[in-house]
């Protein structure tokens, strides 16, 4: 086994033993506000929110548009310092991590990944090795192996030599996910990854996430609009409305008809599906 793989494996083992008692990710009372200009009072885009997640757990962040989902994700990633509170990943405050260290521990899959100049899928996935590189960052054989494995894990080996602007939305999303896996993170964040995907590709992506979280012991936080997919695949749900975390917990406890109707401003029913997970159906007509 190569040294990079070895070190990441030993790190993963250390994480697993550590995480039997304590959560890997701890979001503690984080809030965020911003003022459009200095004269105006700041507007809270996120009020104090807390939750915790263990290794291997999938957390879904749900809520209507402009409810603070992406803000919460940016704060968790450490890209945005919170106004108050803190986010701990294995006891380290995420926004105080060195950029390189952060790149090794936290991977983010954005809504859309725009490319100025097209690149091949394998080149794109290799970018995930950037936080591990030396000064000029010529990729080693290990980096190539890790990138190949990442592509294989999302079932996209056959896309390696394709151009990123010539593959379908679902295929592109898998390659973007592979780049995040190549970072060998502890925490995997996804901002509406199913946005441009058809229903088959959506289910496929969440199945993959579920499997990866279990196999690689990632903690996954995914922002999504898909109530049923979140209910099916997440261990925990954070329900946001207008910057407030209304409820945090397992899908069965969050998916209450009254609550969801109030948040999403539409009539719906909540049933328990065959998997024992809640299932939401939207009823036509206004509330």
């Amino acid at each position: 086994m190569t040294s990079a793989v070895k070190s990441s494996a030993s790190r993963a083992t250390a994480e697993v033993t550590r995480n039997t008692n304590e959560p890997r990710l701890s979001v503690e009372q984080v809030s965020y506000a911003y003022a459009p200009n200095p004269q105006q009072a700041p507007v809270f885009t996120l009020e104090a929110t807390s939750f915790q997640a263990k290794a291997g757990e999938v957390v879904a962040v749900l809520g209507p548009n402009a409810s603070g989902k992406s803000t919460l994700l940016q704060i968790i990633s450490g890209a945005l310092p919170p106004l108050s509170g803190r986010v701990l990943l294995n006891g380290n405050v995420t926004h105080q991590l060195e950029p390189r260290t952060r790149g090794q521990r936290i991977a983010m899959v954005q809504q859309e990944s725009q490319l100025l100049f097209p690149s091949k899928a394998w080149e794109f996935v290799l970018q995930g090795r950037h936080p591990y590189g030396k000064s000029l960052r010529f990729e080693s054989d290990e980096d190539v192996t890790i990138a190949q494995n990442a592509l294989a894990q999302v079932g996209a080996e056959h896309l390696a030599d394709r151009w990123m602007d010539q593959i379908s939305g679902g295929e592109k999303q898998r390659v973007i996910l592979a780049r995040a896996l190549a970072q060998q993170p502890l925490l995997l964040l996804l901002d509406e990854p199913t946005l441009h995907l058809d229903i088959g590709a959506q289910v496929d992506l969440l199945e993959t996430l579920r499997r990866l979280a279990a196999e690689n012991r990632y903690t996954v936080v995914v922002v999504t609009h898909e109530l049923n997919l979140a209910g099916e695949y997440a261990e925990q749900v954070v329900l946001l409305q207008k910057g407030k975390a209304l409820r945090v917990g397992p899908p069965a406890s969050v998916y209450q008809r009254d609550l969801l109707e109030q948040v999403f401003q539409t009539q719906l029913t909540v049933e328990t599906g065959a998997s024992g997970r809640p299932r939401v159906s939207i009823l036509p007509g206004p509330q």
């Binding site: 950029p99 100025l116 950037h130 936080p131 000029l136 990138a147």
Partner: protein, 345 residues
């Protein structure tokens, strides 16, 4: 999967260096005085062997006049191309270039300002030598900073606003330059106007030449150390940050270094347009958008392009010489229009 390796990089650079050498030999051959390639080779060999006394008059003339000019052209082309490549990556805009963004105009204004002020300051000669490039660097840095903030909307760079900002800053600075130039005695005016259009005939003094060499080497190396960060910045600052790039540091370092390169180039040759736009594009078509190979390739490509344009400038209307900037603009403007139309089609 075949990631870039050091040996592949070196081989490509070697090939480009050989092409540059050939173009430089051609540039030595062509001009007001005609010489044979054979004679040129023999006399160049004599120079290398230190037998300078055996060199015939016409060849010594060529080696003393043409060679420094060719080397200057290569230097200026490389500097502008590296600056253009960096600006394109940082601003995520394939149409960015020191000339289009008004950075060259800023540098020109800074240089002229330094030239006008310097005689009144009674500076020691070591400082006087670097005064013009320093003014050009400051002018370039101020121009790119203004354009950057003009092009920023809601915390992100807007491509069209940025280009428009560049055009406006450039035309404003140009107007100020013309105002300053009209205060000069008319005997200096023609020389300055030539310089403004991009001119390689003024060979820098010895101390200035050293400033150019050292400044170029430092700035180019500094930019090259960020090559793989620039690759990630192509997909946006946020993405780059999530992949471990210290975006703030890279941005400041590369803006400063690219402004320095532009300032150095403009201080000795005026504003030679479109090299920083055209060359990175052509090189990207050949080598892809990996900056670890693109930056050196663009440097060689820029050197080749300017030396070649200078051959045209010296031969088209021989024995009189055209400003090399006119040649690059005539070749570059149509390509710019083509790229613009293709992008927004």
């Amino acid at each position: 999967m075949r990631p870039l390796t050091v040996s592949r990089l070196l081989i490509q650079c070697l090939i480009l260096a050989i092409i540059l050498f050939c173009v430089m030999v051609l540039a030595l051959k062509f001009g007001a005085i005609h010489v044979s390639l054979y004679g040129l080779g023999r006399n160049l060999l004599r120079v290398f062997l230190g037998k300078t006394s055996d060199i015939a008059t016409e060849y010594s003339l060529i080696l003393n006049l043409r060679l420094p000019r060719i080397l200057l052209g290569a230097f200026v082309g490389a500097a502008l191309s590296i600056a253009g490549t960096s600006f394109q990556a940082l601003l995520r805009n394939p149409l960015a270039d020191p000339y289009v963004l008004g950075v060259s105009s800023g540098a020109a204004l800074g240089a002229i300002f330094a030239l006008l002020v310097e005689p009144h300051l009674a500076l020691p000669p070591e400082i006087a030598a670097v005064f013009t490039p320093l003014g050009a660097f400051l002018g370039a840095a101020i121009a790119i900073t203004s354009v950057y903030f003009l092009g920023r909307r809601d915390g992100r760079i807007d491509s069209s606003t940025l280009l428009l900002g560049g055009v406006i800053v450039a035309s404003l600075l140009y107007a100020v330059i013309i105002l300053l130039l009209t205060t000069l005695p008319s005997s200096n005016f023609r020389g300055m106007a030539y310089w403004l259009m991009g001119d390689l005939s003024g060979v820098p003094s010895r101390p200035l030449a050293w400033v150019l060499r050292i400044g170029f080497a430092v700035a180019a190396v500094v930019i090259y150390t960020t090559a793989s960060d620039l690759n990630l910045l192509l997909s946006g600052e946020k993405e780059a940050m999530h992949l471990g790039v210290d975006v703030r540091r890279v941005r400041i370092v590369v803006y400063l270094a690219a402004s320095a390169l532009t300032g150095l180039a403009v201080a000795v040759s005026g504003s030679i347009g479109y090299v920083g736009l055209l060359v990175p594009h052509v090189m990207r078509m050949i080598y892809g958008s990996d900056h670890r190979i693109l930056l050196p390739a663009a440097a060689f490509g820029g050197a080749i392009a300017v030396v070649f344009a200078d051959i045209l400038a010296r031969t088209i209307a021989a024995p009189s010489e055209l400003p090399v900037g006119a040649i690059t603009a005539i070749a570059g403007a149509p390509l710019f229009i083509y790229l613009l139309r293709r992008r927004f089609a």
